[in-house]
Symmetry: C2
Subunit: 336 residues, 2 copies
């Protein structure tokens, strides 16, 4: 199931594993011209798509030169490709039916295997990534050094080539002003904290991505174990912060939650950032039992009201028109 | 019917006529000691209550020393007595069953006759005031000078002793920022503009009271005619401003209206000022046909969620508790 379709009541919205890989004896993408990129993309695509593994039959390929800018935007909004990949006309992405697996070809590295799933499931996600990794390695052969591990275009990824990350919903830590000290502590423990859309993006809707900074000098299981342990500590801190605000400021808390619900239910224009903030409040209210509304998947509503999704049905409309359309989609979902 | 019980869809929320009167050959209230005030109050009360006019049988008297502070507050919130009267333990007020008529005894003047009715009805209200005035004059005899007219405690009321006022709901003039120039023009034409609770109060909920400044040198009908004509011009300007915002910014307008409705419907805590603002938006939406909700009387909701009204049923609770109770009363009304 698509990660955001699962109605997940936890603090961990999603888990992602990304492996950076390059083909043996082949220059990194930035050293290739467009023709060479095209040939190598074709080679990798065929190797993955035509592999005789059980996985391959669920795969489909989308070339970055085959789709519109808006279709690329939607792939970004689903977190299936990076913004860098979307900006390129080279390479492409292979995804499985459920869109839990995405294999970017010719991004910063020749191959980037990504697993994204709902909730906190580092070991499970790594298990899938590892299987996909083995299948591709068998047919193509990776650039690997006994001393350094997997060789990557950017040295920060060398070693395991793995970035494990968990997206956490931390509204109570934001409300109590404790989020900054949490981020600082995580940084000191070798954890990078980013906003919803990766590097440079802000924590819209109280969503923060926690990932390992170092890819070298530790095994994949060890990295996942360490990240998982820190993430669980932060989840506990969020839980404690919710207990605190539930006890110390129950009145202002339920007012915040219900106002956000009321605005989502009746507003005629909502920006993407405001929608995330309001949906975050409502999710907090649902998770804390303040508000009893069934069938509202705030993660899904947040994704399907992103600009690309909206324009895929409403056409190439202005930001103001998107804000109106967004409010309409949310109203319909809430009035179901 | 009580002025705020009538569900009035116009720009003019209510009309008020007030006549300041004093008994012949008797010092003004501020020159009387408590005993003299008590005796004179009794005399006036008996004359009015026991008069053999048709009006008298609907009258009842409330002495300021007979009721609690909260009951006085409610009379203020209904606009039946002034804040000055509420602060006093002398005198009292006679009201009729419908609370359209209130006769304050021993406020700044011996007698202040007030008529308050829903909508714009200066002539009708003056007609009633005039009748009440005649009845009282017959039995008590007013201080009246051939040259100066009715003599009053404060010289600014001398002459007709009449203050005619209309409470206008001017949200579109507020939104377009034109309200200040309207107030300036009105001032230049001899019209005093005040907020919801008279002198010194602000225009909460886009409500502004327009009244004649001068009571001398013109007859009652002339004063009412002039005020009515200016008020009608302002109503036309409000109408034009509504047409403008309806045409030029329809999207942000319906968003404002529906958001306010959503907050009123779901918030768990609303201050008195915010309630007035939100109810003003909703009334604008109803009057402009943006929002189709029947049976919501915003003027009534605004009055019955004032502190005195809330405390009359919920007891002597804190401002924060009143804000919660206010939101509850509004939610119930909107979910009917």
């Amino acid at each position: 199931m698509l990660w955001y379709k699962e109605n997940n009541s936890g603090t961990a919205q999603s888990t992602r594993i990304r492996l950076a890989r390059n083909i043996r004896n082949t220059p990194f993408p930035q050293k290739l011209d467009d023709n060479e990129k095209r040939e190598l993309t074709e080679k990798i695509k065929n190797a993955v798509m035509n592999g005789n593994s059980a996985l391959a039959k669920n795969f489909s390929y989308i070339g970055m030169n085959e789709i519109s800018e808006n279709e690329k935007l939607i792939l970004c909004e689903k977190h299936l490709i990076s913004r860098e990949m979307a900006a390129s006309r080279n390479g492409g992405v292979i995804t499985d039916k459920d869109e839990n697996i995405s294999i970017m070809i010719m991004e910063e590295d020749h191959i980037r295997i990504q697993i994204i799933k709902s909730g906190l499931c580092l070991d499970e996600a790594y298990g899938i990534a590892d299987k996909v990794d083995d299948v591709i390695n068998e047919s193509l052969g990776y650039a690997y050094d006994e001393e350094f591990g997997y060789l990557t275009s950017c040295p920060t990824n060398t070693g395991t080539g793995m970035r494990a990350s968990v997206m956490l919903h931390l509204p109570a830590l934001v409300m109590t002003g404790r989020i900054d000290s949490i981020i600082n502590s995580a940084n000191q423990l070798g954890i990078t904290v980013r906003g919803l859309y990766g590097e440079g993006s802000k924590g819209a809707g109280a969503l923060y991505q926690f990932s390992n900074r170092v890819t070298l000098g530790a095994g994949e299981t060890e990295i996942c174990g360490k990240l998982g342990s820190i993430v669980n500590q932060i989840i506990d801190k969020e839980k404690a912060a919710r207990e605190y605000i539930g006890k110390e400021m129950p009145n202002s808390l339920d007012d915040v939650v219900w106002r956000s619900y009321g605005i989502l239910k009746y507003a005629r224009s909502i920006s993407s950032d405001e929608a995330k903030k309001l949906l975050s409040d409502v999710k907090l209210g649902i998770d804390m039992g303040i508000i009893n509304v069934s069938g509202i998947n705030t993660a899904e509503l947040s994704v399907i009201t992103e600009p690309g999704f909206i324009m895929s049905s409403a056409g190439n409309i202005s930001p103001a028109e998107r804000d109106r359309k967004r409010s309409e989609i949310i109203r319909e979902a809430l009035n179901k």
